[in-house]
């Protein structure tokens, strides 16, 4: 091995090969059976439990935990999956600290919530390992629905539609289904090819065809889909990224965090991935944290996240921020980029400190520089290629509570649509609810 964390530039193989295995192992190891029982026993089986309300898919959490207590993890899984067909992925990626576990009464009581996420994983893993798909399709309705986007929203919508007996064709621009489950989520949250395994498991219901490499706007049009199918659901996510303004942002070494992460998720061997010695990530969301942490895990010597506002405003949760710092990432708050310096490729990023002004954020005039051979932009994703004719609202497809767009016969959900946080679990909830509404309108 010739490279080390200290090697200048953007190079692969900074670490010995064992280190990669260790670094990219499961963030939270699965429970063994007894651990799960002990964890499940902590649940109080609350009346009208606050955790259910806090879950965007409203999983009956006390019930599934009681089923684990009673020695029926597979039945528990069914309780979960009835509400959230991607309950396996959500168990791994949900920021539970700001969702169900934040609402857990034991969080209030002792600062130690019932570990709902890990219990959910225990249940769903048990069922999926058994290779069981617990749902059956209703009698065929003869109706056909087109779903665009095979991310969490599209998959949840397709599954629910199929359960109701409709035929579903899912189109996705990419070569693999899964959306950000496959291309975005940090790899230590979903190890062992789980995203694809989950899609395969989901498709066991039948009645769903996935057509990859088919993009709306590139060969497929909304008009065609509308005329060929009885309904259309759009779950196309946020394909674009916000641009960074400032001097030198086109220098070599400056790239998008989401692309960096996608490459990482698709790499057969992460040791072959080049990473900078000094990495600077600009942004404050989950993408920024994931890019920073994974740069560090790939062997970067120094990784810094720079966020323009304060700690409390960062959309990555405190847990995520702590995870980053525990991996050796430094987080600088209250600073915004001014310029990328370097001779052809990036060498330093210049920042200006900020403060909360009377109306908006303002620069203080004081600047500083951080060495950077690699700069990753994570300042937000944007809706890209929404079909003409749909009403947009704040950059997203405007939808009703049940996902209806401004165009008759077209529904949308997930990140591309208004409402809810941009989370896997929210996308699942919206896809599922849209499917119910589509079913209602097709049955009318």
């Amino acid at each position: 091995m010739t490279n080390s964390p200290m090697t200048p530039g953007i190079v692969p193989g900074r670490l010995p090969s064992e280190a990669y295995c260790e670094n990219f192992a499961d963030l939270h190891a699965p429970y063994d059976g007894h651990e799960a029982m002990v964890a499940a026993d902590r649940c109080y089986f609350c009346y009208d439990a606050p955790c259910i309300t806090a879950c965007p898919t409203a999983i009956d959490i006390p019930l599934f935990i009681r089923q684990i207590q009673a020695g029926m993890p597979e039945a528990a899984a069914k309780t979960i999956l009835e509400q959230n067909i991607l309950g396996g992925m959500c168990a791994r990626v949900c920021p539970t600290e700001t969702l169900c576990e934040e609402a857990c009464v034991r969080e209030a009581a002792e600062g130690k919530p019932v570990e709902i996420g890990r219990l959910q994983r225990h249940a769903t893993d048990s069922l999926m390992e058994a290779g069981v798909h617990p749902f059956e399709r209703a009698a065929p309705t003869g109706k056909r629905v087109a779903v665009v986007g095979a991310g969490p929203a599209g998959l949840a919508c397709a599954h629910r539609l199929s359960m109701h007996g409709h035929e579903v064709v899912v189109f996705d621009a990419k070569a693999k289904p899964g959306g950000l489950n496959e291309f975005g989520i940090a790899s230590y949250k979903t190890v062992g090819g789980f995203a694809q395994a989950e899609v395969e498991w989901l498709l066991k219901i039948g009645g769903i065809t996935i057509e990859t490499g088919k993009a709306l706007g590139d060969g497929l049009s909304l008009e065609d889909l509308k005329s060929e199918y009885d309904a259309v659901f759009l779950g196309i996510g946020l394909g674009g990224v916000n641009a960074l303004s400032g001097e030198g942002v086109d220098k070599d070494g400056v790239g998008d965090a989401v692309e960096f992460i996608a490459a990482l998720r698709q790499a057969k061997d992460v040791a072959t991935l080049p990473v900078g010695r000094n990495v600077v990530v600009i942004g404050g969301g989950m993408t920024a944290v994931d890019a920073a942490v994974q740069s560090k895990l790939l062997g970067a010597e120094n990784v810094t996240i720079v966020y323009r506002r304060g700690k409390d405003r960062m959309s990555a949760s405190l847990f995520e921020q702590d995870l980053a710092t525990s991996k050796g990432v430094k987080i600088v708050y209250h600073a915004q980029p001014v310029a990328v310096h370097g001779n052809g490729s990036a060498a330093e990023v210049e920042f200006e400190y900020t403060r909360d002004g009377s109306k908006s954020l303002e620069g203080t005039g004081e600047t500083f520089r951080i060495p950077a051979d690699q700069v990753l932009k994570a300042i937000g994703q944007t809706l890209d290629g929404a079909p003409e004719g749909l009403t947009l609202e704040r950059g997203k497809i405007a939808v009703s509570e049940t996902g209806r767009t401004s165009v008759e016969g077209v529904w949308a959900g997930g990140d591309c649509a208004t409402g809810g946080d941009d989370l896997t679990v929210t996308a699942v909830a919206e896809g599922r609810d849209a499917a119910e509404d589509i079913h209602k309108s097709l049955s009318a």
Binding site: M37, D41, Y44, F45, C46, Y47, D48, V105, R106, A109
Partner: protein
Amino acid sequence: MADLRTDFVGIKSPNPFWLASAPPTDKEYNVVRAFKAGWGGVVWKTLGLDPHIVNVNGPRYGVVYGADRRVLGINNIELITDRPLEVNLREIKQVKRDWPDRAMVVSLMVPCEEWAWKEILPKVEETGADGIELNFGCPHGMSERGMGAAVGQVPKYIEMVTRWCKANTRMPVIVKLTPNITDIRHPARAAYAGGADAVSLINTVSSITSVNLDTMSPEPSIDGKGSHGGYCGPAVKPIALNMVAEIARDVETGDLPISGIGGITTWRDAAEFLSLGSGSVQVCTAAMTYGFKIIDELTRGLSDWMDEKGYASIDEVVGRAVPNVTDWQYLNLNYVTKARIDQDMCIKCGRCFAACEDTSHQAIEIKPGRVFEVIDEECVACNLCVDVCPVEDCITMEVLQPGDVDKRTGKVVEKEYANWTTHPNNPAAKAAE
């Protein structure tokens, strides 16, 4: 420092904690380890006549777990000692000689005929043991042979055998009672009538702990079949406490010494048995679950508690709670309480609401923001909400003072004690004089 020394019907021990007759007291090796650990005495595993019995060669125990596999109860299908009488007697003699300050009681179970007792008693006496315990309790295996619970369930046999023993030995006779009977006072009175120096209770409760739903065999399963066994451990403590109290407050047996047994796991359990009239206590399951070292917690806990309360000796504790055990009909109906929920401590789980709304008196309401409040007009003070609340002391029972109005009944709380015997709804009520 409280004095834990105990003199129970003339049997002396450095503390009131004896190991009950069971596997922990099966042989010299165990008993010596127990004495080294600090146990005050033992009741040797029950002896019988030769040829000695045999045990099953598969599992003997079933279990009931609480959270985290905490043992709440064990049942067993073990019989009395399965070693030759002579071996046991030799070991008993040796241990008593080596540990003269510890209580050595020998448990016995022989056929219900006088010759059998006449045969075994002198042999036991010869070991130098301090006393004997008649095992009339074992619910399985031996009872089918006309011994154990088969004797313990028929008061006149108890009296008869006790009398034989009293006539044939100078050693104190403790009669061990089975709980598998409707009214524990009858066997206790029989033992008393037969001249017993004391009773000990409880032996194990007839039970099936679980059924294997794959094989449809009760557990423990011996080649696909199971048999009822004897249940013991923390789960049986409430049953044992009641039986001890019933004997302690019975006019006929009130002065009969009791050795309390059943689910004693911590010093607190032991203190409760003492307070209800036990002059010594015996432990089995707790030792079998955690080993002999628990004696340190038992003795230290009891001693510290006695110091805190100012009780200098065990005698000062024994029976202290007995006067407070009464019949339902004498409970004060003018004692009125209401549940109170401490909003600062409440974690909003809503278990009190589910319990009261679904299964009790609809006396808890949910206000916006998951604020749970007691409706005084409905609360009957049953205490269920207190019991199911996961936060200790979050829900408490407030005692209404004389003069206060009970909003449920609309009546003013009276100062005077009044019970069912004088209540107008009682057809048999006697007018208060």
